[in-house]
């Protein structure tokens, strides 16, 4: 079985808590708060004001430039505020608040459940619809999909890779999507192939989801243009560069190189479903499957949730927070972000809410580095985390740059494996941000 060439770790996948729960539709929230920055790039610009009536699927904020994404009303009702509110990290950011009145949808949206497989649109038209629908990468990186699909002049896409790896422990939203919405996923894949003009697509799925592989293969049938590839289970296989290396045996060079430089375009499995809905059903991105899980969560679930629904509502639906110390994560335990505020609304990049409680929620005590080289061995980018973290502590930014800090994908393998419990990634991340800032300033001066 294929996998990426260097590094990687094997955390317990802990998917057993939620993998058996079929996707349930989450009740509509009475009030939603929609952040204008849900994607990488410029925050969207609000096009509604306080007092406006909106219907589900109506555009409420417009992409501010190319590297940005539209945002649509996830429920119908009245806009009660467009103002700054605290997000999950406690920082204030611009949000549109809508008070719900019924569930009235925009007329242009086809809400039937009938599968529409036929698509004769041109590449440009497809990308236009994806852009209009506000689709961003739903694996967590939230990179605007229309930007990814717009192949730059002089570059050529050779292969579309659909990322069904879901290597983050605990999370099962992509898994359930592949199982329950596989038909849509495959149509979405064909549309994406059309959009970037490739003859072949590969859906990468890890070996811990054999039923998803089997199911997708049965849908694909005799179609030779789409392959479903089972990959060896190893974190961070779902990292874009790792997945390309596993599937194509090609390594994307260090930044600023992009996947397209080796002929690859990678889209998340849930994103492919969203593309199907946008192009075939004219439905903008207003909801997603969110896994709510954790060892101490009473009823872990996979919930089809409208954006803006507060995390607290999802947690309540699954039996409430466990007692005592908790780490509530937006995402999975390897790359997710800890929330200090469960009023945070579900956003486009939120694939799961993972709750870690009790002793596991605490970090182990740091001790001296014994130079065991486990971090070097675990790094999937071939970096030296022990050295980078030491240099970050000394603020040796130049040295960090020459040791390729900008290649770090922040997967956390180094810190996960460190026997001395050193918070390696804390320092490496700090150094990476600083070095990237220095590089930006230097380029601006030129």
């Amino acid at each position: 079985m294929k996998t990426f060439p260097i590094g990687g770790v094997h955390p317990s996948d802990n998917k057993q808590w939620s993998k058996g729960s079929a996707i349930e539709v989450m009740e509509l929230p009475d009030v939603v708060s929609i952040p204008l920055a849900q994607h990488i790039g410029a925050p969207a610009t609000a096009v509604v004001a306080k007092g406006d009536k909106v219907v589900t699927g109506q555009l409420i904020a417009e992409a501010a430039g190319f590297m940005s994404a539209n945002i649509h009303a996830p429920i119908s009702g009245t806009v009660t505020a467009v103002d700054m509110q605290p997000n999950g990290q406690g920082l204030r950011q611009m949000m549109i608040t809508i008070k719900r009145e019924g569930d009235e949808w925009a007329e242009s949206i086809d809400r039937s459940t009938e599968l529409v497989t036929e698509c004769n649109l041109s590449s440009k038209e497809i990308i236009e619809r994806i852009k209009a629908a506000g689709i961003v990468g739903m694996g967590g990186a939230t990179f605007p999909t229309h930007v990814k699909l717009s192949i730059p002049e002089g570059k050529k896409a050779e292969l579309l890779i659909i990322n069904g790896v879901e290597c983050e422990p605990y999370l099962t939203s992509d898994y359930r999507t592949m199982l329950e919405r596989g038909q849509m996923l495959i149509v979405g894949t064909r549309i994406l192939m059309r959009a970037i003009g490739v003859e072949r697509a590969v859906i990468g799925v890890e070996a811990n989801k054999p039923d998803a592989v089997k199911h997708l293969r049965s849908i694909v049938g005799d179609d030779k243009s789409i392959g479903v590839m089972m990959l060896k289970t190893q974190y961070p296989q779902g990292g874009e560069k790792q997945l390309i290396a596993a599937v194509m045996n090609r390594e994307v060079p260090a930044p600023p190189a992009l996947p397209i430089d080796v002929g690859a375009v990678v889209c998340n499995a849930s994103t492919a479903v969203a593309v199907y809905e946008a192009v075939q059903k004219n439905k903008p991105l207003i909801e997603r499957v969110v896994t709510v899980t954790g060892k101490s969560v009473k009823e872990p679930k996979n919930l089809l949730t409208r954006f803006g629904t507060p995390v607290s509502a999802l947690v309540e639906k699954c039996g409430g927070l466990p007692e005592g110390d908790v780490r509530v994560l937006n995402g999975g335990p390897m790359m997710g972000r800890a929330l200090c505020n469960v009023a945070m609304p579900v956003m486009k990049g939120c694939s799961g809410i993972t709750i870690i409680s009790g002793k596991e929620a605490l970090r182990g005590e740091e001790s001296a580095c014994i130079k065991c080289a486990k971090c070097v061995e675990a790094c999937p980018m071939g970096l030296e985390p022990y050295l980078l973290s030491k240099q970050a502590r000394k603020r040796a930014w130049d040295a960090m740059e020459s040791n390729d800090i900008t290649s770090c994908i922040e997967c956390g393998c180094c810190q996960f494996t460190c026997p001395a419990n050193i918070p390696l990634l804390d320092y490496v991340r700090l150094g990476k941000q600083t070095v990237m800032g220095i590089i930006r300033a230097r380029n601006a001066k030129k």
Binding site: I6, V9, P11, Q89, P169, K241, E251, V252, P253, A254, A257, G320, L321, E323, G324, D325, V326, R327, P333, M334, M335, G336, R337, A338, L339, C340, N341, V342, A361, L362, R363, G364, S367, A368, C369, I370, K371, C372, A373, V376, E377, C379, M381, G382, E384, L387, N403, S407, E410, G412, Q415, F416, T417, C418, P419, A420, N421, P423, L425, D426
Partner: protein, 323 residues
């Protein structure tokens, strides 16, 4: 319901690997060799081991408590391991007071002054062994005769390497099976290749160490010996007998698997490990064949220890995406 929301950057889970576990695994891997030594040399092997381990742990505790006044970290088992390895490098009839002096050198000279675990340049157990070898050459090189039958009498009081150095050995007549199982003279931890390899297999299985350092050391030694044999005695059975002899004799296996792989004093990258291993193998053979001492493993490891910072500085892992 009073919840405390804990906030920290990712990752939020840990692999449960700990310094203590790694050290503990090496200690477990050394136990078969210890058992063989007790069988071959008797109970004083245990006495030496106990004194060595106890002195190392106590000294580290005292230094941390009264001199450094830092956090106490003796429970990470590293001092236990240092004590065990030091004992393994001593003859089975060494006076116990010399063992204590060895522990003082290991902990109070080679380890703690550099800043304790993780910061020392030289392998503490080896630094102590070499100090003792130079300071107490008589006690350190008079090896007792193994107490089990089947051991070739011609070597009594000497190690196979010592005998070879003195020109007493014809490689074709060496009892390689005896050397493999532990029926040979030497520091008590180095005698049984079989038991040491058993531990090596355990370390590989537990992913405590990788194959790179041991295999590159032993491979280099074998290649070196084979070339030497052919160059001096022409083609013939000696071309494989001499490499085999050198791998089984002396501290080759103990050094390659347990001493050279000490995390703190070995390189961080696989490429670096190979360079380091080849260096140790070559220096060991240079000393064994042309040096004043019959055995060169300890010196070779210490010399290469001093090169490790340089290796770490210049030998980088292959970056993802680099051509």
């Amino acid at each position: 319901m009073a919840n405390r929301f804990l906030v920290a950057p990712a990752p939020h889970v840990h692999g449960h690997l700990s310094t203590q576990r790694l050290m503990g695994d090496v200690i477990i891997a050394l136990l078969p060799a210890l058992i063989v030594s007790v069988r071959v040399f008797g109970w004083n092997v245990l006495a030496i081991t106990a004194v060595s381990v106890a002195s190392c742990v106590l000294l580290e505790f005292l230094v941390q408590k009264f001199l450094v006044k830092g956090p106490l970290t003796v429970n990470n088992l590293s001092a236990v391991l240092t004590g065990l390895l030091l004992a393994f490098n001593l003859p089975a009839n060494i006076p116990l007071w010399i063992v204590v002096i060895g522990a003082v050198v290991a902990i109070c000279v080679a380890k703690m002054p550099f800043g304790g675990l993780g910061k020392n340049l030289f392998n503490p157990a080896l630094a102590a062994r070499v100090f003792l070898l130079i300071a107490y050459p008589v006690q350190m090189t008079s090896f007792p005769t193994p107490t089990i039958e089947g051991f070739a009498d011609a070597y009594s009081g000497a190690t196979p390497l010592g005998a070879a150095k003195a020109g007493l050995v014809a490689f074709g007549e060496v009892d390689t099976v005896g050397m493999f199982t532990g029926a040979m003279g030497g520091s008590f931890g180095e005698i049984s290749t079989l038991a040491l390899l058993l531990g090596f297999a355990y370390l590989l299985m537990r992913r405590v160490i990788t194959w790179h350092i041991p295999v590159s050391i032993l491979g280099t030694m074998a290649a070196f010996a084979a070339i030497y044999a052919v160059a001096t005695q022409g083609f013939g059975s000696v071309a494989w007998q001499m490499p085999l002899f050198h791998l089984l004799a002396g501290g080759a296996i103990l050094g390659a698997v347990y001493m050279a792989t000490d995390y703190v004093t070995s390189p961080m990258t696989r490429k670096g490990m190979l360079i380091y291993g080849v260096g140790i193998g070559a220096i060991t053979m240079l000393i064994r064949l042309w040096g004043a001492y019959p055995e060169g493993m300890s010196f070779a490891i210490l010399i290469m220890n001093s090169v490790v910072p340089l290796i770490n500085k210049y030998v980088k892992p292959k970056r993802f995406g680099a051509r």
